[in-house]
């Protein structure tokens, strides 16, 4: 049985509007939190829930909140990261588009917990139509007394502002986001200081993903203990997965993190299997930055155990044989996909999105892209594969922000698991232009019909 905490009401007619949302039990969590709980108690509750950041890194949200500095007389801010630009990730869009009030509700509670009287939603520019939805919801919430001055008579004031980005993936990195929010060029800051000490306008700031903040609502509603019972181990609660690629039913799914990867791909409740009866070749399970896994390592770990859709299991085996939960962008590749081309496409993305501040990322991403293009177009040499490996190795860990790593990992994983495909391209310069390498040794075990 699947549990739905976030998307439970997503299909209720008119749920985007305040009246319907409220009728369906919306804003109960705000009432409970603001009237019966102290900010500290909310932070404790979120800690106890085990909620981990849904933006990619999976850092425990309650812990992050408890780090925020509280110097006397200095305002604090909460910033909602709605920049969602990682290829393959589109879960936040779904949440904001269909359940804007759920996010607003989460923001009110979280702002109260953190002591933020001005909270920002930083949304990617390409989501051009969503700011209107959010702003409309903010107006509705304000008209009904959930925002503004002295909310519910508690003395707590809050305004929520929507700020559009201008189309840069890097502005999803929290310190670049902060710079951009301040009206500057979106370059990541050099840390320390961390946002919890010096964030927006040098004030203590917490940056959280849309889904993380929305998840605060069910945590307050059902209580941390109940929330923590869902899922497994340190993967508590539910997670939104945006599934795409060669599957029958692409879309956004809410899963509790006990299901296996195999079930997620093949069951009709989720992806509904590989499209056109093809076979599974590989998958990028957590957004374009995380390592790609061949089918055989995706469904089972290197130890031969079933792989599950949760933080621990997806990263089982480290980067050698595992991957990451990341942002939940689940990209499935069937037997007709070319890993070299796929890697080239990703490298092109990272080269285009690097902010250019630090030399390894600025120069290395462009270099990798050029070499991958060369191999992809049948002009590569064997030495290029080793060169690629060396370049990604020299980028990883040596940059200001994790975009450098994010650019290096997909290349590293592709070479690690699909080296034969790269070599085939080099050895068959003409054939590789007209035909794909296919499955090779990565065929999945036959899917078990549900």
């Amino acid at each position: 049985m699947s549990v739905k905490l976030l998307l439970e009401k997503a299909h209720v007619e008119g749920i985007r509007s305040y009246d319907v949302y409220r009728r369906e039990g919306g804003y109960r969590a705000v009432e409970k939190a603001l009237k019966t709980m102290s900010p500290e108690a909310i932070v404790e509750e979120v800690k106890k829930s085990g909620l981990r950041g849904r933006g990619g890194a999976g850092f425990p949200t309650g812990m992050k909140w408890s780090f925020i500095a509280k110097p006397e007389g200095v305002p604090r801010h909460l910033v909602c990261n709605a920049d969602e630009s990682e290829p393959g990730t589109f879960k936040d869009r779904y949440l904001m588009e269909f359940l804007p009030h759920l996010l607003i509700e989460g923001l009110i509670i979280s702002s109260f917990a953190l002591g933020s009287n001005a909270t920002y939603i930083y949304i990617r520019g390409e989501y051009a139509w969503i700011p209107d939805i959010l702003e409309h919801a903010i107006r509705e919430a304000k008209a009904n007394g959930w925002l503004g001055k002295n909310i519910l008579g508690t003395g707590f004031d809050l305004e929520i502002y929507v700020q559009r980005g201008a189309g840069a993936y890097i502005c999803g990195e929290e310190t670049a986001l902060i710079e951009s929010l301040e009206g500057k060029r979106g370059n990541p800051r050099i840390k320390p200081p961390f946002p919890a000490v010096k964030g927006v306008w040098d004030r203590p700031t917490v940056v959280n993903n849309v889904e993380s903040l929305a998840a605060v609502v069910p945590i307050i509603n059902i209580g941390a203990e109940e929330y923590a019972k869902i899922g497994v181990g340190r993967s508590t609660g539910t997670k939104l997965i945006s599934a795409c690629g060669n599957i029958n039913k692409p879309g956004v799914y809410e899963i509790d993190m006990t299901i296996s990867v195999e079930e997620f791909i093949y069951s009709d409740e989720y992806c509904g299997g590989i499209k056109n009866g093809k076979r599974l070749k590989a998958c990028i399970p957590g957004g374009s930055s995380v390592p790609i896994l061949p089918a055989n390592l995706l469904l089972k770990t290197a130890k031969g155990e079933t792989r599950y859709m949760n933080y621990e299991s997806l990263s089982d085996g480290g980067f050698a044989t595992g991957s990451m939960m990341g942002s939940g962008g689940f990209i499935v590749l069937d037997e007709d996909q070319c890993v070299v081309k796929n890697t080239y496409t990703l490298a092109r993305f990272y080269r285009h999105e690097s902010c250019g501040q630090c030399s390894p990322c600025r120069e290395g991403t462009g270099w990798m892209e050029k070499i991958l293009k060369k191999i992809d177009s049948g002009k590569g040499a064997m030495s290029d594969i080793d060169l690629l490996w060396d370049i990604q190795r020299k980028i990883e860990g040596n940059t200001i922000c994790p975009l450098g790593d994010a650019a290096a990992w997909p290349v590293a994983a592709a070479i690690r698991h699909f080296r034969d495909e790269f070599e085939w391209h080099v050895k068959n310069p003409e054939e590789c232009l007209v035909r794909n390498y296919g499955l090779a040794g990565y065929a999945e075990p036959r899917p078990i019909p549900a």
């Binding site: 890097i170 250019g356 501040q357 120069e363 991403t365 270099w367 020299k394 040596n398």
Partner: protein, 368 residues
């Protein structure tokens, strides 16, 4: 009663120094000096907020502090990491650092034109020095280098964007020395460039200082372009009573002719403090308009201690030869010879130019 300030002990490449809390690893290493000081292409101690970008100064922290001796998992930018008491840092003693640094140098040179023979910065270019010291021979990059649309920054400052390493120093100068910055970094990634948004000259009394902070030949002095090579000119300290700036400069002279005026630099290539204790930024008038020796009161030859093409400067010690060196060497000054030979291991790095009687000859540098 003022309490005695506790100093932090930090060990860099097995050498321990004591520094004030808040000191960066890089500045602590500069106290040790020599090779222990990591190369810094973007950090500039006189510019607030600089550093952290080029990654040439990466070092390994083998122990975080006495209290928490765990090593740091990643290499850290020494220019932006402050020391802790009991920290153990490895720079030249770390293979990881050497490997990463070689990678950084390769990255920096990837799109760099390597047109040093026609670049005005040649001889005083930090990227040249970095490549000599840490770079590899040859390149693994086989693609075309990037090019940019030309931007004219006005009558004084020449921009060669292809040579820029995006250290942001010139941006900090404009932010911190002028009231209105009109240039900056446009676009992003490997297509990011220094430019003004709408074609505009850089026009401010102090904007000329971008030339001095630029580690490469991306920003050079238009009034000096192609007039001479730095190693043919002789740096002299000079000053004048300037209403705008400290008026303390370095003249780059050949004979009695002033070819170029720059601020005075220290051994790290940074602008020195002037006698009033403030950073010796100079104004455009001193830099671009005062090209007559008569404009200046000359204090004497510049003393620079660090070795490099121009800075390995031993004018003060040189035994005056009978004939002038340029006469014998066809215009060449000993400092060029010094550099070529001191970087070459097969020759004699131990020999001091001032010990050679008369004009130096290449034989003087061969193994005895």
């Amino acid at each position: 009663m003022a309490e005695e300030k506790k100093l932090f002990k930090v060990t860099i490449d097995n050498i321990t120094v004591e520094v004030e809390p808040g000191t960066t690893i890089l500045n602590a290493a500069r106290l040790v000096g020599g090779e222990v000081a990591p190369p810094a292409m973007c950090y500039y101690s006189k510019l607030k907020g600089s550093g952290g970008k080029c990654r040439t100064c990466l070092v390994e922290v083998a122990a975080g502090s006495t209290a928490d001796p765990r090593p740091m998992p990643k290499l850290v930018a020494s220019c932006r990491t402050t020391v802790m008491d009991g920290m153990i840092v490895k720079n030249i003693t770390s293979e990881r650092v050497q490997d990463a640094r070689a990678g950084i140098v390769e990255f920096l040179l990837l799109n760099h034109p390597l047109d040093c023979p026609i670049c005005d910065q040649a001889g005083e270019c930090h990227l040249q020095e970095l490549s000599y010291e840490h770079g590899k021979e040859g390149t693994r990059y086989e693609f075309g280098k990037r090019t940019f649309k030309k931007h004219d920054l006005g009558p004084y400052i020449q921009l060669h964007m292809t040579r820029c390493i995006l250290c942001y120093r010139c941006v900090f100068v404009a932010d911190q020395l002028t009231n209105k910055r009109v240039h900056g970094v446009l676009d992003r990634g490997d297509h990011a460039e220094i430019a003004t948004y709408i074609e505009k000259a850089l026009d401010n009394d102090f904007i000329g200082n971008v030339i001095d902070v630029c580690p490469v030949g991306a920003l050079t002095d238009k009034t000096f372009r192609f007039k001479n090579r730095v190693w043919f000119t002789k740096p002299m300290d000079a000053h004048r009573d300037c209403p705008t700036c400290c008026g303390e400069v370095q003249l780059w002279m050949r004979g009695d002719e002033v070819f170029r005026v720059t601020a005075r630099k220290d051994e790290w290539g940074e602008i020195k403090d002037a006698s009033d204790g403030k950073t010796g930024w100079i104004c455009n008038e001193c830099r671009f308009e005062k090209k007559d020796a008569k404009d200046w009161i000359i204090d004497g030859p510049t003393h620079v201690s660090r070795h490099s093409v121009i800075s390995a400067n031993h004018y003060e010690k040189v035994i005056q030869p009978q004939e002038t060196l340029p006469e014998v060497m066809g215009g060449r000054n000993p400092k060029l010879l010094m550099d070529i030979h001191s970087i070459s291991e097969v020759n004699r790095p131990d020999i001091h130019l001032s010990e050679i009687e008369g004009p130096a000859h290449s034989d003087d540098f061969n193994e005895p």
